[in-house]
Amino acid sequence: MEVLNLPGTDDTPTIILDRNNGIFEISGRSLPEDSAEFYTPILEWLDGYSNSPNSETEFVFKLEYFNTASSKLILDILSKLETIDNTKVAWYYHEDDEDMQEAGNEFSELVEVPFDFKTY
């Protein structure tokens, strides 16, 4: 399965989806003009991955900022992760960023995936 590696820009996050190295990470800022279009390849990659996933998957969210249109797509990613056995989410937030911590909390209440909260 191919590695999905999208370098971040000033309005899109860095994406690394690499099953062989066990790296599943989204980081940076997410405020694309068309969030549905930006997230489509990520959701498609996850569809493929969910057919034969690794024995364990840790999906890292290390977002500095995301807009509300992206939040809907983040929920779509989490919903896909819900269907993959032995998946957990590592939700990183800057230590003084209560809003990002709260956002992670809310997502964790919306899906049946265990969340680990970590500061950076």
């Binding site: 003009e33 249109a69 809907k72 809310e106 209440e109």
Partner: protein, 186 residues
Amino acid sequence: MKYIYELHKVMVARNLILVYEGEFTQEITKSVLAMAERNMDTMKEDSTVKRKVFNIMVECLQNIVKHSDEINSHSVSELNNAIFMIGKQDDKYIVVSGNPIANDKIDMLRGKLEKINSLDKDGLKEHYKEVIKNGKGLSEKGGAGLGFIDMARKSGQKLQFDFEPVNEEISFFSLKTVILRTNTPD
């Protein structure tokens, strides 16, 4: 040339640190954000306040971008221009936008905003979760229907709004969000 001085005086009197009037695109959104961020960095603004202002600016600007083409069919093109401003006072930032909207959208917008303003912190959280969970994906415009809710949550203040009639088809929609620079109430 007197209008230059007049405009300058208004900006100073109202503590406006940034005003943009014209066409709104994603590229312009990014430029406006970058300018405001630089300004807050230079002023060594508190990082929590900076994040909240940034957050509210994005939702506000992207709202304008998403909806700016809706009234193209209606007459004069200058009417499609919008305005965006940031004001800074000792105790607060003010993010203001103004854009033309079709009159038949007023009731829907007013309803959304009044509902949001009727909710307290926990009510807004529940409303947010309800919309993100039950919303039928993104709208045709790519909006999640969450922008105003998020602005109200991040600011912790009521959203102020007004509809000024322009003509039979169009009104000018103004929206003002306040971000306190002192500790926000919990």
